[in-house]
C-alpha cells in the first residue's frame, strides 16, 4: 500500500533518473538538452503532486458554511515560474547548439573535442 500510495514519487524518481542518465551519457548536444528537460520536468511533477490532497478541489473561495477541502495552490504557482525558467533554459541551450553547429559543423561532443585540439 505505501509503495503504491507513493506512486507519484516513483514516477518522479524514474523520470529524474532517465533525464539525468541521458544528460550524462549522451554525446549529442540536443539529446543532452532533452535529458535536461526531462530532469527538470520530474521536479515539476514532484512539486505539483505534493500540493494535491485526496478529494481536494480547486482553491476557489465559495459562499458555503461548510469548510472546503482544497489542494494547495502555492506549489503549482511556484512551478509555473519554474516552467518559464525551464523554457528559457531550453531555448538558450538550443540556440547555443545552433551556434555550435555553425561554428564547428557538428553537434557531437567527441567530434567537437577533436576539432578543438
Amino acid at each position: 500500500m505505501t509503495v503504491l500510495g507513493l506512486f507519484n514519487y516513483w514516477v518522479v524518481i524514474f523520470l529524474m533518473m532517465v533525464g539525468f542518465y541521458t544528460l550524462i551519457a549522451r554525446g549529442n548536444l540536443v539529446k543532452k538538452i532533452i535529458g535536461l528537460t526531462i530532469f527538470q520536468t520530474s521536479v515539476f511533477i514532484l512539486y505539483i503532486s505534493m500540493g494535491k490532497i485526496t478529494e481536494g478541489t480547486a482553491p476557489i473561495l465559495m459562499d458555503s458554511s461548510e469548510p472546503v477541502l482544497y489542494s494547495n495552490p502555492i506549489p503549482h504557482v511556484l512551478i509555473l515560474t519554474a516552467i518559464v525558467v525551464g523554457v528559457a533554459t531550453t531555448a538558450l541551450g538550443l540556440s547555443l547548439v545552433v551556434r555550435i553547429k555553425e561554428a564547428y559543423g557538428t553537434i557531437e561532443e567527441d567530434e567537437i573535442q577533436d576539432e578543438s585540439l
Binding site: V43, L46, Y47, L78, T89, G93, L96, S116
Partner: protein
C-alpha cells in the same frame, strides 16, 4: 525613497536592462548600464550604512506581510555582498565600453549590456531576498544571462564553454529547487526566517537531511567547489574580457553567500555542523581544491586559464573558512569574498588590456610586454602579489584571518596547506611575470600602453587592493559583524 532601497537596488538594474536593449545604440546602452550600475553602487553604500547603524532591514514587497508575501531582508552579510557586486559592476561597465567594442560586433553591444544588467539584477536579488524560492528565480536570471554573456566571447570555444556551463549550472539549480521543495513539503513555508523556526521540529525525519544534501550539492556546483568546478576554467577563459572580470569577481561570490545563507540562517549552524557534519565534507574538499587546482594553474599556458584555475583554489580558501564554522573562520571567508573580488577583478582586467593590444593572452605571446605596457603589467604584478598574500595587500588580510581561524581550533595541517597554497600562487604568478618581463623576445611592433579608459578602472581596483590591505579596519569590521549575524552570535 530611502525605505525602498532594498527593492530598488534590484529593480533599477532590472528595468534598465530592457531600456538598454530598446536604445539599441552601443553608446546609449552603455550610458544606461553605467547609470544603473553607479546608482546601484550608491544605493549599496546607503544600505551598508543603514545596516551598520540600524541593524537588519526587512522590506515587505507590495506590503504583503511575511510569511505569505515575499520579504527582502538586508543584514550585514547581504549588504556586504550587495556592496561587492555593485562595486565591481560600477568598475567593469566603464571598462567594458572600450573592451567590448574591440571584442564584440557593434550589433551585439546593446544586448551585451542588457545581459550584463540582468546578470547584475539577478545576483543582487539573491543577496537581498529572504524567500527561498525567490533565490532560485534570481539564480536563474543571473545564470541564464551569464551563459549568454560567456557565449559572446570572440573564440568559438566560448560557445562550447557556455553550453557546458548551461548544462552543469541547470543541474545545480534544479538540485537547489528539489531541496527547497522538500523543505516546503515538510514545513509549509518558503520564508527563510520562518523555515529556520519550523525546521528543528522536523529535523530528524529523513526528508530534511535529503533536502540539505540536494541544496549542498546544487550550491557547491554553482560556486565551483572542487570537484564540481569543471565548467569554470573554460567559461572564464573564453568569455569576453569584461565579462570574465565581472563574473569571476561576483558570480561565485554570490553562490558562496547562498551557501552561508542556507546553512547558517535556514538550517542553523547546529544542524549543519553537529548533525550533518558539514565541516567533514567542506574542509577536505577545500584543501584538495587549494592544492590541486593551484598545481594545475602552474602548468597553464594561457594566462586567463591560469587565473581561472587560481579562482577555484581561492574559492577553496573561502569554503575552508566557512567549513571551520567559527566566527573567525566565517569572517575570514567573508573577507576573502571581498578581497578576492578586488584582486581577481584587477587581474582579469589587466589581462583584458593585454587582450585589447595583442589579441591573445597566451604566455608565449606576452614576451616583452613588461616594457611595452608598463602600467598594465604593473597592475598585474600588484594583483598577483595580492593573490599570493604579500603584506600591505588585501590577500594578506584574508590569509592572516584564515590561518588564525585554523590555529584557533588547533588545526595545524590546515594552516600549513593555506601557506603551501600561497607558495603555489607564487609559482603561477611568477610564470606570467617571467613571460612579460624576462622573455627574450621583443614585443610585437606597435604595441603600446592600453588606453586610459581601460587602465583607469583597472587601477581603481589595484589601488583598492592596496588601500584595503593597509587599512583593513572597515572591511574586517563589516565582515565580523556579518559573521556574527550568520552564526547568531550578535544582533
Amino acid at each position: 525613497m530611502n525605505e525602498h532601497l532594498p527593492v530598488l537596488v534590484v529593480v533599477v538594474p532590472l528595468m534598465a536592462a530592457p531600456l538598454a536593449a530598446l536604445a539599441n545604440r552601443p553608446r546609449v546602452s552603455w550610458a544606461i548600464a553605467l547609470g544603473a550600475c553607479v546608482w546601484a553602487f550608491a544605493a549599496a553604500i546607503g544600505l551598508v550604512q543603514r545596516v551598520l547603524s540600524e541593524g537588519v532591514i526587512r522590506y515587505e514587497l507590495g506590503d504583503w506581510a511575511a510569511p505569505f508575501g515575499i520579504e527582502y531582508v538586508v543584514d550585514a552579510a547581504s549588504a556586504w555582498v550587495v556592496l561587492i557586486v555593485t562595486g565591481i559592476g560600477a568598475v567593469v561597465v566603464p571598462y567594458a565600453r572600450v573592451s567590448a567594442e574591440r571584442e564584440l560586433t557593434a550589433d551585439r553591444i546593446p544586448l551585451f549590456y542588457t545581459a550584463f544588467l540582468l546578470c547584475l539584477a539577478g545576483l543582487l536579488g539573491i543577496a537581498v531576498t529572504g524567500d527561498a524560492f525567490n533565490v532560485f528565480v534570481f539564480l536563474e536570471i543571473s545564470s541564464l544571462s551569464a551563459y549568454a554573456l560567456i557565449a559572446l566571447g570572440p573564440d568559438r570555444r566560448a560557445l562550447t564553454a557556455s553550453y557546458q556551463y548551461l548544462i552543469m549550472g541547470s543541474v545545480g539549480a534544479t538540485f537547489i529547487v528539489i531541496g527547497i521543495g522538500l523543505m516546503y513539503v515538510m514545513t509549509g513555508t518558503l520564508n527563510m526566517a520562518d523555515l529556520a523556526e519550523r525546521l528543528p521540529a522536523v529535523a530528524d525525519t529523513r526528508t530534511i537531511p535529503v533536502a540539505f544534501t540536494f541544496l549542498s550539492v546544487g550550491i557547491t556546483l554553482k560556486l565551483a567547489l572542487f570537484p564540481l568546478h569543471l565548467w569554470l576554467p573554460n567559461a572564464y577563459t573564453y568569455a569576453p574580457s569584461a565579462v570574465t572580470a565581472f563574473i569571476a569577481s561576483t558570480a561565485t561570490k554570490v553562490a558562496v553567500y547562498m551557501l552561508l545563507r542556507f546553512f547558517f540562517t535556514v538550517f542553523g549552524a547546529a544542524f549543519s555542523f553537529d548533525v550533518m557534519q558539514l565541516d567533514r565534507v567542506l574542509i577536505p574538499l577545500a584543501l584538495v581544491a587549494v592544492l590541486t587546482t593551484s598545481l594545475v594553474a602552474v602548468y597553464q599556458e594561457n594566462a586567463k586559464r591560469l587565473l581561472a584555475y587560481s579562482s577555484v583554489a581561492q574559492i577553496g580558501y573561502m569554503v575552508l573558512g566557512i567549513g571551520l564554522g567559527s566566527v573567525l573562520g566565517v569572517t575570514a571567508g567573508l573577507l576573502h569574498l571581498f578581497n578576492h573580488a578586488l584582486m581577481k577583478g584587477a587581474l582579469f582586467m589587466a589581462m583584458g588590456c593585454v587582450m585589447y593590444r595583442i589579441g591573445s593572452v597566451r604566455l608565449e605571446r606576452m614576451g616583452g610586454l613588461g616594457r611595452a605596457m608598463p602600467w598594465t603589467m604593473a597592475a598585474f604584478v600588484i594583483g598577483g602579489l595580492s593573490l599570493i598574500g604579500v603584506p600591505l595587500t588585501v590577500g594578506f588580510i584574508s590569509k592572516w584571518y584564515l590561518v588564525q581561524a585554523a590555529l584557533e581550533q588547533g588545526l595545524w595541517p590546515v594552516a600549513a596547506v593555506v601557506l603551501l597554497g600561497s607558495l603555489l600562487a607564487v609559482l603561477y604568478v611568477w610564470k606570467v611575470v617571467e613571460a612579460a618581463y624576462f622573455g627574450r623576445v621583443e614585443p610585437p611592433a606597435g604595441v603600446v600602453e592600453a588606453p586610459l579608459a581601460l587602465l583607469l578602472p583597472t587601477w581603481a581596483l589595484v589601488l583598492a587592493n592596496l588601500y584595503f590591505g593597509i587599512d583593513a579596519s572597515l572591511t574586517t569590521d563589516i565582515a565580523t559583524r556579518a559573521a556574527e549575524v550568520l552564526l547568531g552570535a550578535g544582533p
